[in-house]
Symmetry: C2
Subunit: 562 residues, 2 copies
């Protein structure tokens, strides 16, 4: 409490809310922007999603109902405010959102997701199309073909290949296959843009601001061609996209900018005040990189089932140059004043899970025949990666000659390819389960090295890795091998919630508590818990394996086998 | 019983004994050479071997005590005679041996294996060096180097590469490392040669006959250079081999020839008569091919942990030509009048066992931590290949794109290499255990195809496969895939004991019951139980995978990865 001039007690508004929407749940993090202290955090799962409604895994269809997002928002925010104590809501100055992406939803002229209207309440095509939904493979293919014939190279900032995970492909797919949705839709909105627009009363298409991050990385927005691609290109992708372009403002907001203040309605629903500033939203890894204290020269990696790799490069160092073969580069997508680069591996922890499932087959097959064994099978499966890691840690690098190629889920970067596949080679009769596991771990790190090499070849320096996410914090084995293979120090962030923390930092800047992102990072950063440094003998061994084994087999796979 | 001229009942001697010495046990098969009827069979394990004495698996040292062979002989023969009923021993006209090979033993001037003398009774170097003993890798390497500088190409009939599994390398190794054995040894004898020499009283080196099969396939005997390589070559391999050459007769015996008749002592010990003719011995697969009714144009394959592939080609079709890259070609090694060709795969069923062990790792690891789970782990391991085969049989060829290279245990033929290694490629997140198992099965059959292609390229026609051994009889999945991949019919022999049956056929010829091997096959052959014919759609699919995937990856592995 401080006192105003008249001596009355006034509430000092130094708290900010970071709101992080992941794949399965939303997290709220309440942070004091001045002290950096985390006062409370809470997680709210998506209820309909948890029931596996609106999804069809066989077709890779993953949809989320907008009501899940709203319910989770109220649940998570009320939980943190309750936890932080009475009056804490009055002390919140700003909030910002990060979400998965590209996760777009069809909206009417009023900007409301169609599934929030009674007639579309159960129509998956009227819901958010989750990032990992792959129903629009055909549409992405068509976008790529169309782009190759166009006189403007609209794919130059997204690595040259448009993905079925991104907005225009998903919009085209839904419009093509659902006449009712087509008839009602005037545009689509990314999840990270809808949340702030809704809360600030700027949901209507005429007024809805769009964030730079989603627009630039996934939806082909670029300064160079004056915003979105021209109408002719978009209708060549899909005639039903006619008129969508004009619903996007020419300008986009960077994450430090404010969208507005909470409406009275939302201030009431959330237990906050109408003075709360709402920042522009962005994708999770981009805000996560900021929460993990990214700086130029750092490669920020969220390492989980897959990786999302982010770098920032000062604008003047890369303005007219494109980094070939990565997912995207967008001025201001991570921090204002910097080009944001995005890359990633399609499978990282997922590869270990694949192998654990492979080894669990006999147990599960027995359980299929005799269900009394089911619990035992799953219990052992749960322990599998831990058991393998322990055994693999006892194997010296080079003790086995096995190596692998990590493309079991295709390759996101460098040079996206959905067709390349994985391999395990140099197998002998002595190749046992821990040795193969270790080779798979090494392979995921060789995949990381390919990304690092590409970015460096394109002229961007990388001096260290900042590791975020589950694998980073849980697996010293993987992180040490990664340090050895990348020949760089790796710092693991303390915070388990760097995305929400990054969102809180942006909320602090948007609401004026900090003058810029760098200051917010200094005041609010949670620091690093561990640093891995390369072992020079191991580095030399891995250098040889990478050049003499991983690369030649990768080339063969790419050119001849798949 | 028939009667002689004077009306007395005389015993008609139409029975023959086939004596088959495998890796773990000896089998005796008692057959009526006229009717083809099998009267009895018996198996006797090697007692000392079963206790794992004299072996050191870590060094790949595998030795067998000659006393094991003698004990097993008496046990197996007395068992079959007891089973066949009183007087059956009187009706036996001949017996022949087949054994594993090259399995040589150091002997003194009297031809007795040194380990049968009290001072060497416990010295592994004085025992038979089993075929799979790899202690002489260095010596084999030295033989290959020496051969490359010699003016006679002594390796031309053994595929151009001398193996550590063969006699001269093993003899050189034992002599180099054991002075006492060196001081006592005058020569070495192959297991298949020792048995008939011992039983006929021709054990002394001055008189001991050597069989064509072992001499030609493993010990560099060839008509072309007048028998064994010259003394200078053998002493260049190892000076301690000086004088060994003169202990080998210039001439070798083919399997249809007689070594002599049983000595009184052995007739007594075995319950047979002194009239019993003992045929020349040979290696198991060579006699097995005859027992499995091989003919020109058939590729006879003993398919078990590895494969041993045999062909016969009429002498005039191949006399001055060598088949490059196979294990060996020897005139008369299988049947007189035909060139015997030998090839094989280093791992076949062993590859499936390797994979089953891989999948059993979690169970065994749990059992290591908690021994109460040990029995459960092994019980599931025992069922693993059956479970995998069932599941793999439900997968259509081409349904998964996975393929593998079967060189986990190196490659025996074509073009022997101990350094090449195996691989599994085109893996995706959907690659589950049965799909990978199927790819491994296909890989072993692609390895078979490489042998078939090589033999054909060298001008030898192959029209069918005759399959013998455990995998052939137990796995319809494997055999059908092999038929599809080889694009040839495969006939599976009825007899589970084709090696012993082949030995019995040779005994029938050597003892005069049949005029030649072909007549013995006609009268005594057990026929075929199953024929697999290629499915043309699958054949086309596999043709493509073999040419477009298996071969390019094999080339990369051979040239770059190992």
């Amino acid at each position: 409490m401080t006192k105003n001039e008249g001596g009355q007690a006034v509430t000092e508004r130094t708290l900010v809310l970071g709101l992080d929407y992941g794949t399965d749940s939303a997290r709220a993090l309440l942070v004091d922007a001045k002290s950096g202290e985390t006062l409370a955090s809470a997680v709210a799962p998506y209820r309909r999603w948890a029931e596996k409604r609106y999804c069809d895994p066989a077709r890779d269809q993953y949809r989320q109902h907008p009501q899940d997002y709203l319910d989770a928002l109220e649940e998570a925010v009320s939980a943190v405010l309750a936890d932080a104590g009475e009056g804490s809501g009055q002390r919140v100055a700003g909030l910002s959102f990060d979400t998965t992406g590209s996760t777009p939803c069809m909206v009417g002229e009023d900007g409301t997701p169609l599934a929030l209207k009674p007639e579309f309440a159960e129509d998956p095509d009227a819901m958010f199309v989750l990032w990992k939904d792959h129903t629009s493979v055909e549409e992405a293919e068509h976008i790529n073909k169309t782009a190759r014939t166009w006189n403007t190279d609209y794919l130059k900032y997204v690595g040259g290949i448009y993905s079925s995970e991104w907005g225009w492909a998903k919009a085209a797919h839904v419009l093509r296959h659902n006449d009712a949705v087509h008839a009602a839709a005037r545009s689509f909105v990314e999840h990270c843009d809808w949340m702030p627009a809704l809360l600030t009363g700027r949901q209507g298409l005429a007024d809805m601001p769009r964030g730079r991050c989603a627009a630039g990385h996934k939806n082909l927005w670029a300064e160079e061609w004056g915003g979105l691609p021209e109408e002719g290109f978009l209708t060549a992708i899909e005639p039903r996209l006619a008129g969508f372009r004009e619903t996007f403002a020419r300008e986009t907001l960077t994450n430090d900018q404010a969208v507005g203040k909470l409406t009275a309605e939302w201030a009431g629903r959330l237990g906050l005040t109408e003075d709360v500033v709402v920042g522009a939203g962005a994708f999770d890894c981009h805000m996560g990189a900021v929460g993990g204290e990214i700086r130029p020269g750092s490669l920020s990696r969220v390492i989980g089932t897959s990786t999302c790799d982010i770098m920032i490069v000062p604008e003047d160092e890369l303005r007219d140059q494109t980094v070939a073969g990565i997912c995207g580069q967008v001025d201001g997508s991570v921090m204002p004043g910097f080009i944001g680069l995005e890359a990633g591996q399609s499978a990282f922890g997922d590869l270990y899970a694949w192998y654990a499932d492979l080894l669990a087959w006999p147990l599960r097959e027995r359980a299929r025949r005799d269900p009394t064994h089911a619990q035992e099978a799953e219990a052992l499966r749960d322990k599998m990666i831990g058991m393998l890691s322990e055994a693999a840690a006892r194997i010296e690098p080079g003790e086995s000659s096995i190596f692998a190629i990590d493309w079991m889920n295709g390759r996101r970067t460098p040079d996206a390819s959905q067709t390349v596949k994985g391999a395990i080679a140099n197998l002998s009769m002595g190749s046992d389960a821990p040795r193969i596991f270790r080779a798979l771990v090494e392979a995921t790190c060789f995949g990381s090295r390919a990304i690092v090499e590409r970015i460096r070849e394109e002229g961007v320096a990388i001096e260290e890795v900042i590791a975020l996410g589950g694998v980073a914090q849980k697996s010293p084995l993987v992180m040490q091998i990664m340090a050895d293979i990348l020949d760089m120090p790796i710092r693991v962030a303390c915070s388990e919630q760097t995305c929400a923390l990054g969102a809180a930092m942006f909320a602090a800047v948007a609401s004026g508590l900090h003058g810029d992102v760098h200051r917010a990072q200094s005041a609010m950063g949670a620091g690093f818990e561990t640093e891995y440094t390369p072992n020079s003998a191991h580095r030399d061994h891995y250098e040889k394996v990478y050049n003499e084994h991983y690369k030649p087999l990768g080339t063969l796979i790419e050119n001849q086998l798949t």
